[in-house]
């Protein structure tokens, strides 16, 4: 039971001595013992977790157990990025995110499964077996932060962190029926995160409620001298403004008129959400889709699939060049099929004779998306859309489909390549399958507080968050 409490409730109750760390950790460890074999969520676990937690009662996070995606370097647990290349690797240094979590009194209880190197949206490309969706084990959890999202859904931790390049926090959060927050690019340090696509990689929290992820966001965000892409900007105190609602906000509904989405349940839910925000004083309008840059319209997302495919593969080919098996890890024969595909395609799109046609062209179209959002956020405070086109896909859906992730994440790619922040909250549950849909709320750069206000309001006024009954 204690493992089902939200982060907010856990901190409050443990500080009030309503229960002990021992009781909390026993409940979580019991859940892990019962279900980890089935779900395959944790790749490693810290046996000293409880011992560490005991000393942390008077800290902001009060010694609560946090699940960490296995692409954050940790000194005390192996880091593999779910690839055989890094099997058994013990990092000699700590990532900034995990360091900050520990300084705030969090305990890294274990490292979670993911798509190998974060290449994918299914957690099916992990070299250590796929993770199952705890809501329904015939389905995928999504990815690449599938393990962290599943750990939340299965109550195997109190809070979690993942990382997103284009959808890797929000898409699995949506499929697992949990909350995922992708901060503005540069808001959270990438130092010590296994590099994938450096110009879009964004670490962020995954949790049970909007308030839970807001607490973690405040703890991990901020400038870091060790990551030159983190500006010296003040971190908004999002837990203080979370209850301020959406009164006076201008909210745009995006992509619901796209032919692929028009008849979907999720589209209906987003339009309903628009009505709810209107009821609470927001000005809500539909943003028409356009094929060319036009004032007041949103560029259709289809082009962003091509942009992301090229930019991501190109950056991957460069970042994964370092794995030579000399200083650490195994040699390049150990790369899985997906990593090989991406490294090679990226090498191709950067190679002589093709770089202009692919890499430069993609970065030009990326600029069009940037200009489009700069202009749109002059007229809007928030943009909302479905997180993914539909429910979680069944097991096996990603196998043999090199564009699986790109198609599942197509609604998130335009904002990801532009570095914008977004949050996914559950917006429907299918009673038959027990699977969830998610709503994506996007704010302008560095304005995470606005999307958190809207997400919290939505969560409080709708029945879709499965932890509501425990609050």
């Amino acid at each position: 039971m204690l493992n089902k409490l939200t982060l907010v409730e856990t901190i409050k109750k443990i500080k009030a001595k309503e229960f002990s760390h021992k009781e909390l950790y026993l409940a979580i460890e019991k859940q892990i013992q019962e279900s980890n074999k089935t779900f395959n969520i944790y790749l490693s676990l810290d046996k000293q977790a409880l011992q560490k937690a005991g000393k942390l009662l008077d800290t902001p996070l009060a010694g609560i157990p946090i699940a960490v995606k296995d692409n954050f370097l940790t000194k005390e647990l192996p880091t593999t990025a779910a690839s055989s290349v890094l099997k058994g690797f013990m990092s000699p240094y700590e990532s900034t995110v995990t360091k900050k979590l520990m300084q705030s009194g969090g305990v890294v209880i274990g490292k979670t499964n993911m798509d190998a190197w974060a290449h994918g949206s299914s957690t099916e490309t992990s070299d250590f077996g796929r993770t199952l969706n705890p809501r329904n084990i015939k389905y995928l959890p999504g990815g690449s932060s599938g393990g962290s999202s599943a750990a939340i859904a299965a109550n195997m931790c109190t809070a979690a962190v993942g990382s997103e390049t284009a959808g890797s926090i929000r898409q699995p959060a949506s499929w697992c029926g949990v909350v995922g927050l992708k901060p503005t690019y540069g808001r959270v340090s990438r130092f010590g995160v296994v590099s994938m696509a450096s110009s879009t990689d964004s670490p962020g929290p995954i949790g049970k409620t909007v308030e839970d992820v807001s607490i973690l966001f405040e703890q991990i965000a901020g400038h870091d001298d060790l990551d030159a892409t983190t500006p010296k900007k003040e971190v908004p105190q999002v837990t203080k403004t979370i209850r301020q609602g959406v009164k006076g906000m201008r909210i745009g509904i995006c992509y619901t008129d796209h032919p692929d989405l028009i008849d979907k349940k999720v589209t209906k839910q987003i339009l309903e959400a628009g009505k709810l925000f209107e009821k609470y004083g927001a000005q809500v309008t539909i943003v028409p889709v356009t094929e060319k840059l036009e004032k007041g319209k949103i560029l259709k997302h289809d082009f962003s699939i091509g942009v992301y495919t090229v930019v991501q593969r190109s950056e991957v080919s460069s970042n994964l060049a370092r794995y030579d098996g000399i200083r650490y890890g195994q040699n390049r024969e150990y790369f899985g099929v997906e990593a090989k595909r991406r490294i090679m395609l990226g090498t191709f799109t950067l190679s002589k004779g093709y770089a202009d046609k692919y890499y430069i062209k993609a970065q030009q179209v990326r600029n069009l998306y940037l200009q489009n959002f700069e202009q749109l956020f002059e007229g809007y405070d928030l943009l909302i859309s479905p997180t993914t086109p539909s429910y979680a896909e069944p097991l096996g859906a990603s196998i043999g489909n090199p564009m699986f992730g790109e198609l599942e994440d197509m609604l998130l790619e335009p904002t990801s390549i532009s570095g914008l922040p977004g949050i996914s909250v559950p917006c429907y549950k299918d009673e038959q399958t027990n699977l969830y849909l998610g709503m994506n709320i996007v704010a302008s750069w560095w304005q995470e507080e606005k999307m958190i206000q809207a997400a919290h309001l939505y969560e409080s006024e709708t029945p879709w968050n499965s932890w509501r009954i425990y609050v």
Binding site: F89, M90, P92, Y93, Y185, G186, S199, D225, A228, T229, P231, K292, D302, F303, I305, G306, T309, V310, S317, A321, D324, G325, I326, R327, Y328, G329, R332, E333, F335, V337, K340, R341, I343, M344, L345, T347, F348, T349, S351, Y354, K357, Y358, I360, K361, A362, Q363, Q364, V365, R366, N367, L368, L370, Q371, P402, M403, E406, I417, S418, G419, W445
Partner: protein, 102 residues
């Protein structure tokens, strides 16, 4: 629209060499087909007029961020730490395969 890119097995072999990825003949054939298919999606970008747009490589607008050129001793690894994850070491050095002819 620009012409479709047909990725041949020869191109795949060439990029496998460039990226130091060992692949079998069967994989080469499959990858050639897959890359051709993926690039069809990417070729869609040719429909977008970018004649007056600059490429962007990053989104924060930060440029040439420097730190002071000082040794940060607390971040230095001991020799033992640096070698700990290597599969092959010799007398405190990393061991590598011979790349030059004898």
């Amino acid at each position: 629209m620009q012409s479709k890119t047909q990725v041949t097995s020869d191109i795949v072999s060439h990029i496998a060499t460039l990226s130091n990825i060992p692949i079998t003949d069967k994989e080469t054939v499959n990858l050639a087909k897959e890359f051709t298919k993926v690039l069809e999606v990417v070729d869609h970008l040719a429909l977008v007029d970018t004649s007056s747009v600059d490429p962007v490589g990053q989104v924060t607008g930060l440029e040439s961020v420097m730190r002071s050129d000082e040794v940060q001793k607390e971040r230095m690894f001991s020799q033992e730490e640096a070698l700990r994850n290597a599969r092959r070491t010799h007398n405190g050095y990393f061991m590598v395969d011979q790349v030059l002819d004898k």
